[in-house]
Assembly symmetry: D2
Homo-oligomer: 358 residues x 4
């Protein structure tokens, strides 16, 4: 619990939106991994504000600075600490948040839990905390890359516009080609138009991210508690605004018969594989060598550029209207976070499985 | 990870389906809680095979025996160990499973992970392991009861038959009145008929369980990783056959605008409450004092009384047909498990929050 | 914390002296280890009361019963649960302890911490809890044996009688040949005479156990917190009555100069070894391939067959004299416990190091 | 394990001696604690090189910079991250260490464990890592101060010169008055003379630190594993150069009879106290309300300004003589580290006990 995630590959995160810095410590990265800081920065840039006209236009450079754990370009097995300095701090913009509980934000719950909170930009509850996750995940991706594992997430639904096909019918290399991060160019255009229309009304919209992991060997995961899917669910549901998680056939299983969705084993070039993959690559909490895929539902951004009724810290009802630069939806900037958290889970389970093999 | 769940209130589970016993150790239960062993047995009886004509007719008494941690009827603060002896062991029934990987079961993944497995009745991957969870949850419920917290789960969907209304429109005290554990008697009858029809064809069916927690104070949970909803997701997705988790408005959020689903704060008899509860009682990972509710999707039982193609440990393709006494759906027997895992998460977060308050 | 020890190889312990049973769960033992239950029982027998005329004459069979995790003689990678049933329960012997705080026992601190305690035979604070440790350690020894690691502890001091030489000047295979478990037969005889004399006076005596671990590869351990020696210290200082821990040259280092006690590296048959081993086989928290050796100081048993002044739960001063069957010193029965805890630490660090190696 | 210490009050440490910075994250500090950064700096200054003519004359300002977790002077309950930038980096001084394994240092074990190491100034194994501990401990001290707890460590032995009396016969407020940090001015002068003489010969010397904790309530700690003394032992034995730990009467117990050293309870102004405190304030792993005191043995600094034989990474034997600015003994600069680690253990156990109380 608390601000660490993972057991053997472990990210500990710190930082408030308008404090000095956001950062973290990656502990447990094996020694000898080539650490490409350019790749880490690339991943951060995918999460950065201002990267397209669909997301918040805040100017945050978000340059990562590594403080330890790397020597002559390689991990040394010691903790990799990093910081991203907070620069574009219009903290006074947030003075009006000091005494107010914004609807569907964490202001009230932090206030109740701690009795004190850094209200500026949401403080610790800000999505800027995702920076730590993205860096932690980028290093995990470097570790997994050596094992032939790839992780690709994309926007599969925005509002009422949803992709109709399974992930393997899309060319996921196209995901980065549009601002929505949707691999279907037509749907992407429609989603983009929808988001702009909704933003024009000062409103926000929800959506779904699909994530696909290829190359995981059979045998990773835990059999009872913290099953591989349970760890992924934990990882995803810990991302701001995530409200649902399903893997494989997910909620659609509820309407299915066993005879329709059992994954029959077969021999395939001398390997045991499954004819179908409704299971989503995991059986009994342990990877079976097939693709792992899952979906994460996100709620609409809670910050509206509209009047909303709420309550202040003095228990008086007030009307509140946000100003400033905000995202109309979380999807495109959530995608590197989804991938990062998946990477951390997988790196952790890789190490865990290493420990078990004699 | 491994076979323990929870940090301060922690269940460690052991046992195989056809070993000597299933059991566990509850560590961290505070001292001085009245431990009603009759209540623990009642919860186990809700999970027991043979409790209705809708579920497996295996005869398992499943009597809990407490080995430690209770003195003169009260918890002492030391570990509460318990066992349920395995009795109805038709182990030879399972000889045909020794060399086969059943479709959509954990046989193949266990075999790959460990290189050795107890094939009898699924061994450790058997749903009998849920016994440990139910006992661990029953003690957690006793702890939470003193705090005024109730947890109630029910079947909200079986196949294509789904409840249409929100939980607060049902009388959840009726849940236990039918074999499906659905609080809507008419829907329950339809579900029951559906299950019998499907079972007659040697098939199985999926469904959804909804769970409602009332009485949790504002302020419980973790703000970043292991958010309260993330812990619940982890707990639920670790239950056999669970494939999806959503809380509050869940996946439906994806199609919504912020202005439709933000929960506005208001004053209510001197208390800050929310006008609506789309959030599902948690904001920023921390409880806000409203009802916590979530849904868990379950796949159809993988064991079919039909021929299925699969592969054996010798890498040869074979046809397999299960025999014996099996459940056609997991729902009614999964309900006490869902409640139990929720109870463990909440007890753990209660203790965690106690530690934080000065 | 709480009642679990170890991270990847983890023992969770339960049980009170006069409850139904003492036992535990070993989680994380790799699959495929041949589990010799006879060896586990042999280790338990070394800890058993009544094994010689020097220790308590209580009749406790202490037969271990394995409940899970072993299939056809091998570990399956799932939790190994075990119990030892409590049989020789003269619980009424302990009625006089219900309302009294015995000097230098845990009665008062348990009472203060929990507000309730099982007073019978010391309840959870009884040395019978060591049973769990010995079983957990016996399985760890089986794991380590495959790696060529041996662990041997012996009595090196009783009262004023101490061995004068280093461990390598004794034939440690002789340790089990006398009731004191001292490899020097003459000293053993003197120690035995001393203990008998002290016991005759209703008194007790302290001592020191030395433990030697051979065969650990270089590279095990943690470099900063939980250094290998720190884990050993934690393990040893968690044994009842342990009051001091030192490894290598230990407290004697305080009087030494660097030039006297630095361990110079040299080449030895193509291997890097150290000319001396004042360090005790660990440098910077990590094993260096030399023998690991350490010493643990034990206080005299607190239970005296003499009048002692103390205080009752009613805050009134009383005089108390123990009756019954008690040990005059802990040494011989502590030795298998010291070995067991060392084995658990090493098994855990072996798995941890496995996780790290790519 | 790894680079975190503590469960509910947890320090995660990072940094190499000649990397960019040393620092860490304090997680779990309750909200609302007044964080006096001046006090944190004062504690760091006690550890700083160059503070007296008895210790290394390296010029390291060691200014702490807090990056998160504090708002308007108070802790917010979120992680407190901090860095101390490395400034006085004569990294090229260390080029000769790249290919050599210094005797009784961690060079060889790091090399073996990780296959790669930052050789500059010892890298991660440098005593500069203590900076993280001191900051983590300073915040813990602020938390404990509110509870009336004080922690005071002092030098009780250097080489053959040892204090003869128990801690309560010294005025510990005098500890900071001399460079050795010994509360007995005469002994301090003798120790100082001894150190200077030894340093003049290019040699180093060992010693003992005694630490006294006052004000801990009865009831803190864990009863079985991770007993309060075991956690303290773990904390202390994880400090560089620590080789032994004892609490209360420690190793001296080995020579004692129970009748001599049992701590009899008595009533004292309506409170249950002990007539003596040989136990060192802990019974059965749980504090009993008396002073907690313990001793830590330190070996001589391994770096000698003399020729020593050793082996290089190429397996060739070489002669090595350190140059530069080094400590002749660790004692005075280890004292704030001993106090800091004790403070972290106690803060953690305070929170743990809070969780338990209903």
């Amino acid at each position: 619990m608390m601000n660490s995630f993972g057991q053997l590959y472990r990210l500990t995160s710190f930082g408030e939106s308008h404090g000095k810095a956001i950062g973290g410590i990656i502990d447990g990265c094996p020694a000898g991994i080539a650490i490409d800081v350019g790749f880490i920065q690339y991943e951060l840039d995918r999460r950065r504000p201002g990267q397209s006209d669909l997301v918040t236009q805040r100017k945050e450079a978000d340059k990562v600075e590594i403080l330890s754990g790397i020597f002559e370009g390689k991990s040394t097995g010691t903790p990799i600490a990093f910081v991203v300095w907070n620069s574009d701090q219009h903290s006074s913009d947030y003075n009006n948040l000091r005494d107010i509980f914004r609807p569907s934000h964490a202001d009230f719950t932090y206030h109740t839990k701690y009795g004190i909170r850094d209200h500026r930009g949401g403080g610790r509850s800000s999505a800027r905390e995702n920076i730590s996750r993205v860096v932690g995940g980028a290093v995990a991706k470097l570790l997994l890359k050596d094992l032939g594992i790839t992780i690709a997430a994309y926007t599969s639904q925005v509002g009422h516009i949803a992709l109709q096909n399974d992930y393997h019918l899309y060319d996921l290399s196209k995901t980065e080609e549009n601002a929505v991060r949707c691999p279907d160019p037509e749907k992407a255009a429609a989603m983009e138009a929808l988001v702009k229309q909704i933003r024009a009304g000062g409103d926000t919209i929800g959506g779904v991210v699909t994530c696909v992991v290829k190359g995981v060997s059979a045998g990773w995961g835990e059999p009872v508690f913290d099953k591989l899917q349970a760890q992924l669910a934990n990882a995803m549901m810990g991302i701001n605004a995530a409200k649902g998680f399903e893997y494989g056939n997910g909620f659609a299983f509820a309407g299915c018969r066993g005879s329709e969705v059992n994954d029959l084993f077969e021999m395939n070039e001398g390997q045991i594989t499954t004819k179908t993959n409704y299971s989503g690559g995991i059986q009994g909490g342990i990877s079976n060598g097939q693709d792992i895929y899952f979906r994460v539902a996100f709620k609409p951004v809670a910050t509206l550029l509209r009047d909303q009724k709420t309550v202040g810290t003095n228990n008086e009802e007030v009307t509140f209207c946000a100003s400033g630069r905000h995202d109309p939806f979380v999807l495109p900037r959530a995608i590197p976070v989804v991938e990062a958290m998946a990477a951390i889970v997988l790196a952790d389970n890789y190490l865990m499985q290493q420990a078990r093999v004699r």
